[in-house]
Subunit: 468 residues, 4 copies
């Protein structure tokens, strides 16, 4: 659950990367980092916090060079953030190297154990450091080969941008779990996790980096190769359901369009007599519009989201409690009072938030509250880069929809079916242009437990002994 | 353009005030302040920035007492903010006094000149300091009388909360330009600029403080009086159009409902053949829904607003420029591409932002772009507390709608008429309950130039000589 | 216990003031402030902390103008520092005014009460605000007269610099408790509390501002007058004993020379058989050298003072305690081990520090520890600007030297006599040049209780009700 | 030019380390770091700046455990400080490891190149990271053997403390360039660069860690071994001349006593007719006292050092320039005016500071200014851990004392001879107790160019390509 950006050949590579990261901010709010190369030397800045807070003008000016990679990192509790912030930059036998990673390796712990036995020392608990160690042990003269040989040893989900003194290399795992797009900004090549980054920097979208593809950009131009045997594609369907921005195109499809379609299918699968359709903003908005159109029930923005809820807000600790959801959302009494309300949300994780939202809508005078979820029950954790809680915390892993409905106190609850979801995604295409990712099929492990790659027991976190 | 909160009789008065200010954050982002009284001593904290940034847990814990008032201040360029941050707290012959003010006095400069001639010294350029000086010169033994006599001398817009050692006093000018509401939280009385503050702190709305009313809360309970001759009401219509939060009730009306009504009327006044209605989020959303329903054209969220645009974002200064609007908004290509799009916004100030939005929609592939504004042309500055630019900067003060349409490059432009606006507001009632403000009529000076109170030349700022 | 600086006629008035305050940093570490005038407008910056921390380059650049006054403030516990930081700047009928004050008024509380009865409001608990209110009530057209009439009403100790748009005025009370010097830097006139400020800015010392003198500098040049009836001089002897820097000339005498003389006289009054004379650095150093020369006992720097003890040091709170003195001082074992040691200090306040120093010297192996104090027992609090504790906390107010010696566990204790002190001061002159302050005699109230001006009961602090 | 601390077996190991580092602050002001072990996990905090600024109470409380090591780092210009701050902590095959290093390896660049060829990646440009890599490649089961085998490969100066989960290991290179002492605090063992750290934490000094010794402390207690063939000792004489604190014992000798002896010998080698001996505080103080006693010329503190010169002071950039020395030092006019003054300093590096001091003393009225230096001319850079400039910047490498005297504009200049220095050091013993370091002889390469270990060309800095 991170966002990455790469720039080759722009005199303001750091600024472009900074803006690109700003557009990808929803993919990670814990820390932000940029590494540039001036062709000879690297320049690095990493900070905790949002992109806008992390970089002052002075820091950006201290990042010269026409190559850059950047990273925004998602908050994972209890983990010293700055040490694990990316890009990860080092010196090794062949010079300097930096990497930014979106995804999760399933055999990182095993690889790390092996590397340590061979004398490697580790300073972070990131998968990226494992990749860099593998790469550093390669004796091949060209970095492309070293990267390919290093990645041959890893399994799991990775969309990566590597920076060398005068080369930018992008790579995506053979199943293509996480998105990675290629664009062009005048003479420069740019890479980013979502197309919204290109919108902001006014770059032209060229195509997705394909699953299993390695793209190299250097003084000779751009070239690409596919060093691995082809695997069936497994693009993350949850990017469409929740994670990506609605104004992004990923996987050749408009996220907004997919979500509307999810809502429309949901309306067919779980019809309800009601007076108003209300989204949980902002992730439920497009699905709610789709639901409203398909059902003919009017759409209204009956929940208002505050723009001012950030990381620094202090909840007073005494008698006033549990403001979490109320600080962020408030019901529009005039919209819901006396009405039969359908609430549209993308998913239910622990159920506590949904329960508070239902209560809030009732307190504002709703006669009935029906909850419709634009994806199937989330029953399994993700091992490929989305920070879902463990199975035991996922309410749907141990409770039926009826039980969940009772817990969140709604009058009825409907989840979109797995097939309904897949049909909706498919029908949101055909992709707008010929540039789409061919033959995309999806990873739905979080809804089904069908993991495309087995997870090797022993996470890096479980290995971690050092350095809090 | 500020927000105020007052609390009497709660053991966590500072925390309640803090949360109330958080809910009113949209009314002022420059500075936030809280003053509490423990019955004997005052405790004060004021900081620049958002409420969540301004107060740490330690600062809130340093604000004991069961009485409190708070203030959020709007950013006015070039003005040393902390010096002018409110509440304004002083010691005088009768003890301690603090005040928080929403509104603008029209004779502040004149009063200040007179006070200075009598030996007063000033430390800020706020109207509030003028009020406190007037009050301090009163020799009446009770503070209610001193307040009434002080306010008798001022003209203009004021919604005020005063704090004395063991008293809370709220006052609203006879025309009632700015809102002020009274609520109850268990045994405590609370005042706030908008009802959303009550929603968050779970207080019960009792009624609006009426224009011309002074409400005193102390150990003897709550009492109220109307010391001034009645004036015709002049509630600010722009609160409904743009300024207040859509989930607020003010003036006895749901802001969301009013805005929907404005949109519906706008659809009737300025119909258009189109494929999709797109709001400029978030202030245009309710009006767009109203427009869509009245016109039958589908509503879609074709502009996505970033949650991460704050005061600290640094725009790189070199070749990449003019990111202002793009950082905040992005078009959903799939929604607008190949379509005839109606953009709904609440107002046009200088025209530069609208021009960029039209361009953004066109770049995303729209065939036609029609702009509809849910209020009349903004032709005159506000002297009663909204921070509009001077007349010469208001594009509508010197240009016809046709000229404006040409400037912002839209295919057609329609403004809601003055009467349409007033009808829409009226029809959004009858107010939901018997508690509504009786006989409200509206100030529309920013659209008509009919100022209910004449402005006295010589602003305090123009007087200002000292202390940058 | 503050330091003040004033500059008239220098293109970098803020920078000069900043450097002058840096040289006076020992007179106040709590807060620092500068106000400049560009002839028309004032510019103000005040911050908590040391001068070097308080002002960034940007802040200094934001202080244009060729007139400036500045202030460093001593830390007084429990007092919100920034609110009380100086200079105090306001607007009033005649324009803008700022003031910086070193000293303490004895009738401030009474004056404040009277002003409040007349309608004044107060924002700080400083004496300076009282002076400004008095001044603002004056109706005389020229500021000099307003200042004189205001000061006519105050009693106590004051060395003041006032800033108006294009005038700088310095004033010193008729007894001259606190120092104030006049110097010249090319075409500019400068004022400062001690001559070390002139050394740093390379200004030439002209003369002291005389007790009872008001000096005005404006476009017409410098002029001076003495509006009050002459009083006998009462320069603070404790400035020489402890407070001023040893490299300063004040009162026409070298502080270093005075301290050496105090040490020499002390050696005569309280001789002792010993092997080494050790100062408590830095205030005891010159006296120890004087003692060593007079007694023939070798001088050694047997206590080393850390350069790194500042306000931010956190003392761990658990088992390791009472590091206060040890963090600041350490004994040189080789100097004191096996020796009979004479410790020279300037004064004993509560006795706790002296007790720890004696223990430290003994732990380092000293055979005997004799303490000699270069002033008489401190028995009374100062009401004229030195922040001594209340009488009950002054160990010498209730204990004999013998009892004190027992408490601090030294082998013998000797205080300089009152007459010895006065003779020493006198003999350290005749003042080096003809520029000295004529007829100086001294205030010794802290040693004798003979207060030159009676203190009016009711301090401003005791009046304080508001605003923590 | 760093300071290190290690603690084994104290419930407040972080607090003890923090205080120890505070006492060693003069050895490094750029950055400070502490790593603790709670027996299972490491906890780390590193910050730029002084110890007191670097650690808040919260940070110290976040460092639990009864083992700790700490480090203060000297500022080397142009080097990203936090990345190179120590201790350096990693995970490797055998668990967790941290190290703090005082000294400089002469073959670090060569080792690093070799390690990189074998696949190591580097994140800093410190020698410590080289040591950790060597150690991590060891396959021996016990850490003592891995440390010995790693150190067998390095050449140069090192005093080291290593931290493993439940072990503390100290090591000192066979020549013993940098000091390292062992002490006891109740049941805990402590290590520190100088004895002043023990004074502050009230630990008992046991003995120096001997050159070539490795000391291991764990649950089984303390044990020691000397795995290397013995080398002739080369303790750094410049620690005595300038670097260590005067209240420290290192190398079995009192630094204060050594400096007095240097001053006494200097008086004999370079006698002068003069009226007063003035030290450049604080490093010249003890030598000046020695000079004064040997010569019979009175000692006076004619230069006063400001306590408030820190890293944050901003020098105004315009007309007022070159305040460097004046901000720090000021002459006492009364001491030097009309006098023949002998200035005592420990060394002359570039000559610019000495030149300013001579000028300052003359401006204060001195008739003659004679400079005496308590060490020989500094002609060669140090490769063993003192941050001296390159040869070309050392004025004495290309100028005779006569030329230097002319440059700094003094009336006469005398340097202590090499033999005089060595005799003085020797005569400052015999060491106070039987605990002294046996057979110490000294490295004087900076005065003679006789380097005990040859420097291998190619520094790590020259290798550095990455990561600014």
């Amino acid at each position: 659950m991170c966002g990455i950006v790469g720039v080759y050949g722009h005199s303001e590579a750091a600024n472009i990367t900074y803006l690109g990261l700003h557009a990808l901010q929803h993919r990670g709010q814990e820390a932000a980092g940029i590494v540039t190369s001036d062709g000879d030397k690297f320049h690095l800045s990493k900070r905790e916090g949002l992109v806008g807070d992390a970089f002052s003008r002075g820091e950006l000016e201290g990042l010269p060079g026409h190559l850059a990679i950047g990273h925004v990192r998602y908050s994972t509790a209890g983990d010293s953030s700055l040490r694990n912030a990316q890009p990860f930059a080092v010196e090794y036998a062949h010079g300097s190297l930096a990497v930014a990673h979106n995804g999760n390796l399933v055999n990182a712990a095993e690889l790390r154990r092996r590397l340590e036995m061979d004398g490697s020392i580790f300073q972070s608990s990131t998968d990226s450091e494992v990749i860099v160690h593998l790469l550093a042990r390669g004796r091949e003269p060209d970095i492309e080969t070293r990267i390919v040989n290093a990645l041959r040893q890893v399994e799991g989900a990775y969309s990566l941008v590597f920076l060398a003194e005068s080369k930018l290399i992008a790579a995506r795992d053979p199943r293509g779990f996480r998105p990675l797009l290629l664009g062009r900004l005048k003479d420069a090549f740019v890479f980013a996790s979502e197309s919204v980054a290109f919108d902001l920097i006014e770059a032209e979208f060229i195509r997705e980096v394909e699953p299993g593809e390695v793209v190299v950009v250097d003084a000779k131009g751009l070239r690409s190769f596919k060093p691995w045997t082809e695997e069936s594609k497994r693009f993350c369907v949850f990017e469409h359901v929740y994670f990506a921005r609605p104004d992004s195109f990923i996987d050749g499809r408009s996220v907004y369009r997919v979500r509307m379609q999810l809502g429309a299918t949901l309306a067919k699968e779980h019809p309800v007599e009601a007076d108003v359709v209300v989204p949980v903003p902002d992730s439920g908005t497009a699905a709610a519009i789709g639901f409203a159109r398909a059902s003919g029930i009017p759409y209204d923005q009956g929940l208002i989201r505050s723009h001012y809820v950030g990381r620094t807000f202090i909840e007073p600790q005494q008698s006033i409690r549990h403001f979490g959801v109320k600080l962020k959302l408030n019901a529009v009494r005039d919209v819901v009072s006396g009405k039969r309300v359908v609430i549209i949300d993308d998913s239910i994780v622990r159920g506590t938030t949904s329960r508070k939202i239902v209560k809030m809508i009732r307190n504002a005078g709703a006669k009935e509250v029906h909850v419709r979820i634009s994806s199937p029950p989330t029953t399994h954790p993700c091992f490929y880069g989305i920070d879902t809680p463990t199975r035991s915390e996922l309410i749907a892993s141990s409770h039926t929809p009826d039980e969940i409905a009772r817990y969140i106190t709604c009058d009825s609850l409907g989840y979109l079916s797995r097939d309904g979801m897949m049909d909706a995604v498919a029908s949101a295409g055909p992709p707008q242009s010929g540039k789409a990712l061919p033959g995309a099929s999806y990873c739905d492990a979080c809804f089904t437990g069908h993991y495309p790659i087995e997870f090797k027991p022993g996470t890096i976190s479980s290995l971690k002994r050092v350095v809090n």
